[in-house]
């Protein structure tokens, strides 16, 4: 197989050049670290005061935009279909277009980019690994371009690198579209729309309660971890740390289980009989349908161009 792949030996300087391409990322990381250090010095932040907060899903639901006014059922259905169509793209150029459309949707929904950036940053660490691992591990196929950065003996497969970029673009495009999907209506309304779309009631309730109690559980975890730290616990790479973290997670599980039982008791005591009572009524207007059709056509168009278009980069 590898015999039919094109191989280029890049001199040592090439390795330096490749490292140079990563320079902007390194600069960003250093700047963030310096800023954090300055904050620490000014007492605004604490190294061990982890940011346990989770972005609230529907923080922007009180704004007004075309997405906010859109019937939630049609919004969920059409944007989810759009997401599946984007996931099926195979060419970088169309995945990039999908990312642009997602950014436009976020802008149109008037969602502050700060929130969006926070979600994307949470994905960067995981997706960034693809850029490193895939070029080195993807099986070599005929026609692949292999780069050997001397003196490193492992080939860098350019197809793997581009595949990683494609995955990242699609992941970002889909993650971004989740903002107008989930952040433009109160969560209970979104959940009720899911019920209208025949999602089982049990799943809907689980989503609703998970969103509420994730804050409570994280708060409990934070307090317990602080309790460990003030008695001298510092994470190390050893068995004692594993033992302690095992106890910590076990206790967290037990306390979460107890909490779940207490919440259920409190719900029962207020007349809960297995279903969340709701009053919201939905009514789809013609323009809601049109907007839904637009997004589905947009996704279909991207997929069509992806499959038949000539913008093949690799």
């Amino acid at each position: 197989m590898i015999d039919t792949a094109e191989t280029i030996y890049v001199p040592f300087g090439g390795l330096i050049l490749a490292a140079g391409l990563l320079l902007p990322i390194i600069v960003i990381i250093i700047r963030r670290s310096l800023k954090a250090a300055r904050d620490r010095k000014a007492g605004h932040h604490h190294r061990h005061e982890h940011d346990w907060s989770v972005p609230v899903l529907d923080a922007c639901s009180n704004l007004d935009s075309v997405f906010h006014r859109w019937d939630p059922r049609l919004k969920i259905f059409s944007l989810l279909v759009y997401c599946f169509l984007v996931a099926a793209l195979t060419q970088i150029i169309w995945a990039f277009c999908a990312l642009i459309f997602s950014l436009a949707a976020v802008k149109l929904a008037k969602i502050p980019f700060r929130n969006t950036k926070r979600r994307l940053m949470a994905m960067v660490g995981f997706l960034g690994m693809f850029l490193v691992i895939m070029p080195l591990t993807v099986p070599t196929q005929p026609g692949d371009l292999l780069l050997f950065f001397q003196p490193v003996p492992v080939p860098f497969n350019v197809r793997g690198f581009l595949l990683a970029i494609l995955i990242i673009l699609k992941a970002f495009a889909i993650a971004l579209i989740m903002e107008p999907l989930l952040n433009t209506a109160p969560l209970p309304v979104t959940i009720q729309a899911l019920r209208h779309l025949r999602i089982p009631d049990m799943i809907c309730q689980m989503i609703l309660l998970s969103h509420r109690y994730i804050f409570v559980f994280l708060n409990e975890a934070n307090r317990m971890y602080t309790g460990m730290r003030v008695r001298g616990f510092r994470q190390k790479t050893n068995l004692a740390t594993l033992h302690t973290m095992g106890n910590f997670l076990g206790m967290l599980f037990v306390s979460s289980f107890e909490r779940t039982q207490r919440v259920y008791d409190a719900m029962l005591s207020r007349g809960y009989n297995g279903t969340f009572p709701v009053y919201t009524n939905f009514s789809a207007r013609p323009k809601d349908w049109l907007f839904g059709i637009f997004w589905i056509l947009l996704g279909t168009g991207l997929l069509f161009l992806d499959r038949t278009g000539t913008f093949i980069i690799w």
Binding site: R40, A42, G43, H44, H45, H46, R47, H48, E49, D51, V56, D58, P186, L187, P188, L208, L209, H211, R212, Y213, F215, V216, N219, E220, R223, M224, T226, G227, M228, R229, V230, R231, G232, F233, R234, A240, T244, N247, F248, G250, M251, V254, S255, R259, R262, V263, D265, A266, M267, L268, S269, R270, G271, Y272, N273, F276, P277, V278, Y279
Partner: protein, 563 residues
């Protein structure tokens, strides 16, 4: 959906609202929580359900709402067994407020949480809306109704949970430790709300002074059995009986009625009344003189205030700001001397716990912090855990090991002590908090009081120079509270106490620092603090409880003298 919301029928003449006969309940692990309970509760009763931690109080009230079904014996609500339609009726008419408000607030906004009950009652949308707004207005949260619960303070959450119950307009209201962890202002709001409630009230609390102003009947549970069912007056006036059931809170009032000053004052307040008091004790209105002098009935503050000793902690212009820009506290200047026992008091959110967090080193503020005359830098903060220990408000936050022995040994182990020294310290610390023999017990299975003491032992085993205690008496029954007081009295370390419990503060601190909105309002010897006539202004008015306490002490004296 069954529409039973408005067809509530009162029990027939001679019929009890609740009738329990030979009710017993065992948990899945075999623990017997209730045994042969015979109890009748009538419409309009105001019942104080009291007993030590683990006596079965919460288990009992969970039966009254149908959360637990009776395993043996019978339980009738309005003459019918709590099942089928009557179960639905009971759940809609009997409101329970559990201890932890987070258990009640499971929706995404306060509005939805308060609406949850009325919606389950099958009420029309506009009626639900009206009830929600009314209930939130009554508890003073109408301006926060569309906030997420996790954005509220503890006191606000507690009131929101109360509104969620009251919006259902229950006929029976059951409260489980309604005032635990609340400051005096929030406690007074609760007391007022409950006094306005006209239905049947069942209240679980260790705070007999709070119950005294609210209830007329006392049911005492002990190891799952009813030991007494009589008037609250009878309960509180028999000190021996209180002591027998671990409910004697009078250790807080040592010498109180022997002070001539307070006695004179009591005389003037007594107006020659007998010790009988009305159903809701509403004659306990406060005069200005009461507010200013009632605290004097308390035991004298701790003696033996250390003289000029070396400074342990010094804060110069120290401030802490949260990430969202709000100030935890600002420009704090204070010192703590070796051996001193200091109390931080103030309303919820005043900045007490945040300040303690900075002293402990888990938070870093701006300004200068000296520990034993050494400026604490970032790296110094990392080592403070060796010198300062803290017992958190909720002991569960601190206990994560599978046995008490491991729990107490955890801190010393992090210090790198030898196994021999570890064993010695564990034994010592457990003995100090009266938990010898508990080495192999599972911390999660201990009672609330035992867990609190274990948390203290886990810190004491590290031999800290400063011990910080955050709300050490919250949810403790009087017996455990007295024991805790005794333990703290004998500890030869510098202590910083954060508490809303003025009686505890009075008995266990040399100096009291009043905090309000992130600033220190006053820093006085505890005796002077209780003379301060600005207590009311600082929302630290405990005069009402003092008056209740004084009345109770007089009743006890009368009983002891055979009167």
């Amino acid at each position: 959906m069954h529409d039973l919301a408005t067809d509530a029928e009162l029990p027939k003449e001679g019929q009890h609202l609740f009738q329990l006969r030979s009710l017993s309940f065992n948990y899945a692990d075999g623990h017997c929580a209730l045994q042969d309970i015979d109890l009748d509760i009538n419409t309009g009763d105001k019942v104080a359900l009291v007993g030590q931690n683990g006596a079965g109080k919460t288990t009992l009230v969970k039966h009254l709402n149908g959360i637990y079904t009776n395993q043996t014996g019978s339980l009738l609500y309005k003459g019918q067994s709590i099942q089928d339609d009557n179960l639905i009726r009971a759940r809609r008419q009997v409101g329970i407020l559990f201890q932890d408000p987070d258990d009640h607030l499971f929706n995404n906004t306060i509005y939805e949480d308060v609406a949850f009950g009325p919606m389950n009652q099958g009420l029309a949308r506009d009626v639900v809306d009206e009830r929600v707004r009314k209930a939130l207005e009554r508890v003073g949260l109408d301006n926060l109704m569309f906030k997420a619960p996790h954005n509220l303070s503890y006191g606000q959450k507690k009131r929101a949970a109360f509104a969620a119950i009251m919006a259902m307009e229950p006929e029976v209201l059951i409260l489980d430790e309604p005032t635990a962890n609340l400051d005096s202002k929030q406690e007074q709001i609760f007391a007022q709300l409950l006094q306005d409630f006209g239905g049947t009230l069942i209240c679980i609390s260790h705070d007999l002074l709070f119950l005294y102003g609210l209830c007329s009947r006392a049911v005492v549970l002990d190891h799952g059995r009813i030991h007494h069912d009589y008037s609250l007056n009878e309960l509180v006036s028999h000190r021996a009986s209180l002591r027998e059931h671990g409910l004697d809170f009078t250790f807080r009032f040592i010498d109180c009625c022997h002070s001539s000053e307070s006695h004179d004052h009591s005389e003037s307040h007594d107006h020659g009344e007998s010790h009988e008091h009305s159903e809701t004790h509403d004659h306990l209105t406060l005069s200005q003189s009461d507010k200013q002098t009632a605290v004097r009935i308390l035991s004298p503050p701790m003696e033996g205030v250390p003289g000029e000793k070396s400074q342990v902690i010094r804060l110069d212009n120290y401030s802490f700001q949260y990430k969202d820009g709000t100030w935890g506290f600002k420009d704090i200047n204070m010192t703590v001397n070796e051996g001193e026992k200091i109390a931080f008091v103030g309303e919820n959110g005043a900045g007490k716990s945040t300040l303690a967090g900075c002293i402990l080193g888990i938070k870093q503020g701006a300004g200068k912090y000296y520990f034993k005359n050494n400026l604490i830098t970032h790296s110094g903060r990392e080592k403070l855990w060796r010198q300062i220990g803290m017992v958190f408000q909720d002991s569960s936050d601190q206990l994560f090991c599978p046995s008490c022995e491991e729990e107490v040994a955890f801190g010393p182990k992090q210090m790198g002590l030898s196994p021999l020294e570890l064993e010695k310290r564990v034994t010592e610390a457990l003995a100090l908090v009266k938990l010898s023999g508990f080495e192999k017990r599972v911390p999660m299975n201990l009672s609330g009081g035992e867990r609190r003491r274990l948390a203290i032992a886990a810190v004491l085993s590290m031999h800290p120079q400063v011990l910080i205690l955050d709300e050490p008496t919250a949810n403790l029954d009087p017996r455990n509270e007295e024991l805790l007081l005794h333990i703290l009295h004998n500890l030869p370390v510098t202590q910083i106490l954060i508490s809303h419990d003025m009686f505890f503060v009075n008995n266990s601190s040399h100096r009291t620092v009043v905090m309000h909105q992130g600033s220190i309002l006053s820093d006085l010897p505890t005796s002077d603090f209780f003379e301060d006539e600005h207590l009311v202004g600082h929302q630290l008015d405990y005069a009402y409880k003092n008056i209740c306490g004084r009345e109770i002490m007089k009743m006890q004296e009368a009983v002891e003298n055979g009167g």
